[in-house]
Amino acid sequence: MASNSYDAAIIGGGHNGLVCAAYLAKAGRRVVLLEASDRLGGMAREQEIAPGLRAPLAAHLLYGFSPKVANDLALARHGLQLTPHRVDTVSLLPDAERLTLSSEPALTEASLRRVSAADAERYPAFRARLVRLAAALRPYLLRTPPQLRLETWSDRLEMLRLGLSVRRLGRADMRELLRIIGINVADLVEDTFESRALQGAISFDAVLGNLMGPRSPNTVYTLLYRWAGEVAGHAGAVALPQGGMTALIDALAGAARAAGAEIRSAAAVARILARAGVVEGVALADGEEIRCPAVLSSAHPRRTLLDLLGVEHLDADFVRDVRHVRGNGANAKVNLALSALPESLQGDGPGPARLIVAPSVQDLERSFDQAKYGELPENFALEAVVPTLHGTAGETNGRHLLSVVVQYAPHRLRDGDWADRRDALGDRVVAMLEDAVPGLTDRIEARQVLTPADLEAEFALPGGHWHHIETGLDQTFMLRPVPRFAQYRTPVAGLYLCGAGSHPGGGLTGAPGANAARQALSDLKTGRATQAREAAE
């Protein structure tokens, strides 16, 4: 066997690629992971924007990183510590008003009472029910979706499992799940609450990350998906790892290396090699060829299949399906290095919080509308965190980092292009925050603005969507990324998708990487690729 031959090559050193590499290596396979850039981490990467201040380039919170993955890969042993402390959601409202949704019920109730006594009463039951419904869907995040044709017993069993899990909810909850899962979140929150602030705050969780407004179809599903996340047993909670996202990536890389995986950065894959419907390996940009019976790509499905593999290996209708997957991004990122923390973010506040700007359903929908038509909205929806308050961004000497996710920055601008609008975007975001956090502007030492076009270029995301493709109901579970190819396999035997474009989708869960690794391992064992080659000859 030649020295550069492996059982599996993994494309992309983001968290899913690393998870996948670690699982395969743990199973005793010879694995090489190939990352195009000189640093691992993908969209969990951080970058120093001012001395000592590492800013997350994309993801800044950890929603539902799979506890099973953390356990299987013994990430704690490799230095991962997920902070148990509370991260409350604080909605910044006009006239310096705030609404706090905390995992401490008393805090939430007190805050809600100031806007609506009725809502304060209704909220706990609403929240509890949605968390229950989300929990019924949760087991599926770590499982491989069945095929709808249910040709095998394992597919039938998988379908039965989902059915049972939903059935176990009881009649009332099941009816509610079926009633709401396809509808839009605006209908749900307007049906339940009278406070515009609360309606807006809940809707924000439903639309964040997708080019969707609160009135877009199945935004209740996207809300449940987010709330199905699980951190240290707190349903629906969010958290930051000690040491920031870098710590998560380091732990994953450590686990992969410890299991024997070879990790190579600055190793850009130029082509996936295939012949007669069977993968043969990858060719790197520098001309090196790596031969292996399995290639798992955590890159965007379109990039993997249309660019790296090439349409000539695929059926025209499959190519059409892949091209038509919805995945136009709606997010930008603004990172601010602050000389000091503004007063309104200090002191007796709710502690390390997730600040959001989403004052009402109407505001969100209006911004969405503008983004939908390719305009830069007058107001964005925002999610901001101060990683320095969590002790995750290193030694800061009183300086702080404000990390802002901008919702409704359309990937495709109707007029002009993003290179000319980068500063306008940054200015608009800072101005919006200044309203709620007086004194912010004066304390800005450095500013980093990543437009959807920057994210597209940085992370090779055709469409600039940071879950690769939208996470609506029609692009989830057995329909993700395209119907009939939801089981991480592709039409080319031995080529797998192991990134956010596969079930369960985007966010830092590690589940696509883990599921794809399991599928590849089982195929390697049965020699599926060899069989495919023999069948063709």
Binding site: G277, L306, V311, E312, H313, D315, A316, V319, P491
Partner: protein
């Protein structure tokens, strides 16, 4: 008011000859079902020479630096084996390996093709060309066509002025110019007989017709309608879309779609070439033991065409006739049918339930059908 149906470029010549006034719709054009006498028209195909207006056929031009790769990606045969100036009959499949249509591909140049078919295929061809440097365009209205078929077809063309037509081999095409009339002639056709198809600019259609008729009179050249053409194509075992199979992209039930194996086109699938649409699915179907249903030819006792008849093995229903005809030349009752694969072996006997109208009541006869090669009548003169 706009006409509901268009007239073909030959209409002015055809209409006065259509003495039955029986017309039918074909791809938005009005075309003749029967001109005068079914018997006379049929025997023109088999004994002398026949003219049939094929202008409504849908025609695509596919060209560009990658055109040959795109065609190879589209069809199940290997286009590398089709020389410039050659024509290729081939099915094309969707990703599930089911036949969308079959048609004739003319290789006009190394990377220049014309595809003739019955259904609109533009979006599928464009989807297949995605990512390649090749352009697809619908040239249906730019080309008028006549099928000249029958044992005397060559004599007609010689009299028409194509002295060299003898050199044009089976499934080849060439361009000619006769007294200023530019005509592309392909030695192709749907009748299974010696025959040619003539392609001209619509401007030249009437001149072509007039000169062919003038040259052909002595050779018994007759215009024919679709009714007798259908008999001829069943005799030849040429399948017809929407009759013998459902286009895979239009089939409402997945079980209705057929792979090339299911249409007795096994010979037209080449797994040795580069990837083509449906390749993996067809490999899988082959590995799983072949298609669940197969198209077969039937030789049926009696004289009643078994149109739409069900086929039985004892009491078990095992298939259905899709095309049926009494073959005047073979003096046989023939049919094309789709049967469960395990009843498709040549020589297998099945029971046919034939219903027909007897005065005003439905009569039923039980006949015996023998599975035979569907190419009932393909005289060697078609390729000599």
């Amino acid at each position: 008011m706009t006409d509901v149906l268009l007239q073909t470029p030959f209409h002015s010549r055809i209409a006065p000859l259509c003495r039955t006034n029986l017309w039918e719709r074909w791809s938005g054009y009005t075309t003749v079902t029967q001109f005068y006498s079914e018997t006379e028209e049929y025997f023109a195909i088999r004994n002398t020479a026949s003219l049939y207006d094929i202008s409504p056929m849908i025609k695509y031009r596919l060209s560009g630096p990658d055109a040959a790769r795109v065609v190879n990606r589209l069809i199940t045969r290997d286009i590398a084996r089709c020389a410039v100036g050659q024509a290729f009959y081939s099915p094309w499949c969707n990703g599930a390996g089911k036949v969308i249509e079959e048609g004739t591909i003319f290789r006009l140049g190394e990377n220049d093709f014309r595809i003739n078919c019955a259904e609109h295929q533009l979006t599928w061809f464009e989807a297949t060309a995605y990512g390649f440097d090749a352009a697809v365009s619908d040239v249906s209205q730019e080309i008028a066509g006549l099928a000249l078929q029958g044992p005397s077809a060559r004599l007609v063309l010689e009299a028409f002025g194509l002295e060299d037509i003898r050199k044009l081999r089976y499934f080849r095409l060439a361009e000619f110019e006769v007294d200023g009339l530019k005509v592309t002639v392909s030695r192709t056709g749907y009748t299974g007989d010696l025959g040619y198809e003539l392609w001209v600019s619509p401007r030249d259609a009437e001149a072509l017709w007039d000169r062919l008729v003038a040259a052909g009179g002595i050779h018994g050249l007759r215009p024919i309608g679709s009714r007798v053409l259908n008999t001829a194509r069943i005799e030849a075992g040429n399948i017809l879309i929407n009759v013998d199979y459902v286009a895979a992209n239009k089939a409402l039930r997945e079980s209705q779609a057929r792979s090339p194996f299911g249409l007795a086109l096994d010979w037209a699938v080449n797994f040795k070439k580069d990837h083509f649409n449906g390749r993996s699915a067809l490999l899988a179907e082959r590995a799983a033991g072949g298609p669940p249903k197969r198209l077969v030819g039937l030789d049926i006792t009696g004289r009643r065409p078994a149109s739409g008849a069900y086929l039985y093995d004892g009491k078990r229903e095992v298939g259905q006739v899709t095309s049926a005809a009494w073959s005047p030349i073979l003096k046989k009752n023939i049919a094309l049918a789709t049967v469960d694969a395990r009843y498709a072996a040549t020589g297998r006997k099945l029971m046919v339930d034939i219903y027909y109208l007897k005065e005003i009541t439905q009569a039923r006869i039980e006949a015996t059908a023998t599975v035979v090669d569907p190419h009932f009548f393909q005289p060697s003169r078609r390729r000599d």
